[in-house]
């Protein structure tokens, strides 16, 4: 299955891209993250939350959406 992953703020500096499409077989977000940590080892030390189809989700959530986003701490206002 194909999924778009979006990166923002300091996370996009670390990945050197703002989004990428990946093929995945994992069922949960935490499993998918293990692969991302292999690709981007420094990601492990970063503070971020995950949104699936524009809603915040927990790590044990099932991947059911089209779009994931890795969101570093918010700084609006």
């Amino acid at each position: 299955m194909e999924l778009t992953i979006k990166y923002f703020g300091m996370i996009s500096e670390l990945t050197s891209c703002e989004e990428e499409k990946i093929l995945f077989e994992q069922t949960t977000i935490s499993e998918l993250l293990k692969d991302l940590f292999k690709k981007y080892p420094d990601l492990k030390n970063k503070d971020f939350r995950i949104a699936q189809d524009r809603k915040l989700v927990s790590l044990d959530s099932l991947i059911s959406g089209q779009e994931l986003a890795l969101l570093p701490p918010f700084a609006g206002g």
């Binding site: 923002f8 703020g9 300091m10 524009r54 986003a69 969101l71 918010f74 700084a75 609006g76 206002g77």
Partner: protein, 146 residues
């Protein structure tokens, strides 16, 4: 009443002319007895002896606009408001310039004091906006809301 999803983001700083025009537009709405306005301004913080000169804002705009919409709907439910406007900058905003403009109006003053604080606090916590603080020497760090 369901309101349609608006784009809250404006490119660059929010000008005082824009803010003045927004106020002027409300003169025809004569049930309003009280306005309240919050203006967020970029501060020249000194961090490790380096001074911030600007913040470069980026956002997960699709999710952010949905969150702004949720906040707007919740505020209309909670408070007796006639209207509400929210604008947030994207891109570079220099120190001293305005990056957030929240404008609430009601028949009565007590509602707008409560509503404005509620809306601004929700924006700080719930909306995926990111701020790159740029220093004089062009180095940067990422801002975090406290």
């Amino acid at each position: 009443m369901e309101r349609t999803l608006k784009n809250v983001f404006v490119k660059g700083p929010i000008s005082s002319a824009f803010i003045g025009n927004s106020i002027a537009k409300h003169q025809s709405k004569t049930t309003i007895g009280a306005h309240n306005i919050f203006l967020g301004q970029v501060r020249a913080d000194v961090i490790n002896e380096k001074t911030v000169t600007a913040i470069d804002y980026s956002a997960y705009e699709d999710m952010a606009n949905e969150k702004f919409h949720e906040i707007r709907e919740d505020a209309f439910k909670k408070f007796n408001l006639t209207c509400m406007h929210i604008y947030h900058s994207s891109g570079r905003v220099n120190v001293g310039e305005i990056c957030l403009f929240v404008f609430v109006s009601s028949p009565r003053r007590k509602e707008v004091f409560k509503a404005l604080e509620y809306i601004v606090e929700r924006i700080k916590v719930d909306v995926p906006v990111f701020g790159k603080e740029i220093f004089e020497d062009t180095s940067h760090q990422w801002k975090t809301n406290t």
